[in-house]
């Protein structure tokens, strides 16, 4: 390093020991968010982590897969459809609650607790990107949980069909609404669960809180159902996320969901209300989640 003539002789010398600026490609915000999403999805099923982290997710996956395999077997042997693809999602709703209660705290509470958020936010990643990447990972994981067994059932039905390609095509047309319905389940449950989990760094409290939100609201529906007003009865499903999703399902996929006219929740002509409420719930949860991450770990 050369010294300027105006300054006095230096007391020390800074040697150039060859540090260089990074000149390679910078992967940027999209890459970070993408990595976070992939990492979140792997975390959801415990990939890349110890065997202990795999116990609970895979317990649920195993139960769901066994049920699907059983349904496929019954169908191929007896030829009776016990549950349609869309009804399968309904029947598994308790396990979805448990699944999001297991996974959502893993995704966000650990980061809060171990204090790594400032490290994430010092990258090109924006705060909203972090929240949305985690949400996308949870939605995908929950959708896979419900969707993959439906594919299993589809495979069982497609290989045993006796109507050739037409039968497979009919089966596919039944499968697609089932997958779409599973996506609605995944969206609603994941956004509610992630919001609750993002409020606390303790995984235990987060899991308890998520289950509490879903279970506490279910009996409200039961009480509103017996109220002496038909309008209140029809709108009762709005009180709980599970019945809200079922209401949307009855509205959009009635043909596939309601095989028995006596069963299912009656929503009357309020289908669009359920649809709007579901959208509003998702939007509110995502909005609150983003608001939460605008503030968290900023101090």
């Amino acid at each position: 390093m050369s010294t300027e003539t105006t300054t006095p002789a230096p007391a020390g010398v800074i040697h150039d020991i060859g540090y260089q600026r990074y000149a390679g490609a910078r992967l940027g915000r999209r890459y970070v968010a993408g990595s976070l999403y992939v990492h979140g999805l792997r975390t959801a099923f415990g990939f890349g982590r110890s065997a202990k982290a795999k116990i609970f997710p895979w317990l649920i996956v195993a139960i769901v897969a066994v049920v699907a395999a059983g349904l496929a077997a019954v169908r191929s042997q007896i030829g009776q459809v016990v549950l349609t693809y869309a009804q399968f999602a309904d029947a598994m709703s308790w396990l979805v609650i448990f699944f999001v209660a297991v996974v959502a705290p893993e995704l966000v509470s650990r980061d809060l607790r171990s204090g790594v958020l400032p490290l994430y936010f010092s990258r090109p990643l924006r705060r909203a990107d972090y929240a949305l990447a985690k949400l996308a990972a949870l939605v995908t994981a929950a959708w896979l949980l419900l969707g993959a067994p439906q594919l299993l059932m589809f495979a069982g039905a497609a290989f045993t069909t006796d109507k050739g390609m037409g039968g497979v095509w009919d089966e596919l047309l039944d499968l697609l609404p089932g997958l779409a319905y599973a996506a609605i389940w995944a969206l609603v449950f994941a956004s509610v669960a992630l919001l609750v989990a993002s409020l606390t760094g303790k995984r235990a409290f987060a899991a308890g809180g998520i289950v509490a939100v879903f279970l506490m609201t279910t009996p409200i529906v039961g009480v509103l159902m017996v109220m002496p007003s038909t309008t209140v009865n029809r709108l009762a499903g709005l009180a709980s996320p599970s019945s809200l999703v079922q209401g949307v399902g009855v509205w959009l996929f009635e043909e596939w969901l309601v095989t028995d006219t006596a069963a299912g929740i009656g929503i009357g002509r309020f289908g669009p209300v359920y649809g709007a409420a579901a959208l509003l719930l998702i939007a509110a949860c995502v909005g609150l989640l983003l608001a939460r991450y605008r503030k968290v770990a900023s101090a």
């Binding site: 110890s50 209660a101 289950v211 506490m216 009480v223 017996v226």
Partner: protein, 236 residues
């Protein structure tokens, strides 16, 4: 011993955390008042509110959060070391914590259930529900406190028990009802105040004996586990 209870209570309630326990009991009372106000017959709403919400959800979930919180959160935070290094027998650590958990759970659950029971039927039903939920609080708290010493993920394991064992299997596989705290609580409440709203599935002696066995057994297990407790870092 009283210091431990005081520390535990402060850990549970400090910094406005007790507010988190409020919504659940308020929901029970709120629904009962709403149904009563709308003039619905108690035979219609009694089942869903008293059993479906109160005994099947509020009681186990509050017991789970409190019961795993009294010891589990100290293990999580590592502050359990400070207590373990004091010259205290292990039972003097477990019992005060268990007492706080039982007390908090019983008060949080019994009061709203008493109110809801009075609104639904009679003072007798209210007292029966309050007594039964206090008994349930003892069994659940002992169970969940022991869980927090047996595993690193007590809440999830507790949820498996509450959701899958009591919730799902209890409805379909009747044999599991003999091993379900929820059924003991319903049975005891039904024995004290027989109404059409509660349906006892197991016999009264079985419930009482099993409740005592569960409470004593899991307390003993917790004390034994704490004797040989080894601190481990956060596992993945």
């Amino acid at each position: 011993m009283s210091t431990i209870s005081w520390l535990t209570a402060r850990g549970l309630f400090g910094r406005r955390r007790f507010l988190l326990l409020l919504p659940l009991p308020l929901l029970v009372v709120g629904l009962a008042v709403l149904a009563r106000w709308a003039g619905v017959s108690p035979t219609h709403w009694g089942g869903p509110v008293l059993v479906g919400l109160g005994l099947a959800v509020v009681l186990p979930v509050v017991a789970l959060i409190v019961g795993t919180g009294v010891l589990g959160s100290e293990i999580d935070d590592g502050t359990i070391v400070h207590i373990l290094t004091k010259p205290l027998p292990r039972w003097q650590i477990v019992l005060p914590k268990l007492a706080v958990a039982i007390g908090v759970t019983a008060v949080t659950v019994a009061i709203p259930l008493y109110v809801a029971g009075v609104l639904a039927h009679s003072v007798r039903l209210g007292l029966a529900l309050a007594a039964a939920s206090a008994v349930g609080a003892v069994a659940y708290s002992a169970l969940f406190l022991a869980l927090s010493l047996v595993t690193r993920r007590p809440v999830l394991l507790g949820l498996v028990y509450v959701l899958i064992w009591e919730g799902l299997l209890g409805n379909y596989v009747s044999g599991t009802k003999v091993l379900s705290v929820q059924q003991y609580v319903v049975t005891i409440a039904d024995r004290i105040a027989p109404t059409s709203m509660l349906s006892a599935e197991v016999s009264v002696p079985v419930s009482i004996v099993m409740t005592v066995l569960i409470a004593a057994g899991f307390t003993a297990l917790a004390i034994t586990r704490l004797r040989t407790f080894s601190m481990a870092g956060e596992t993945s």
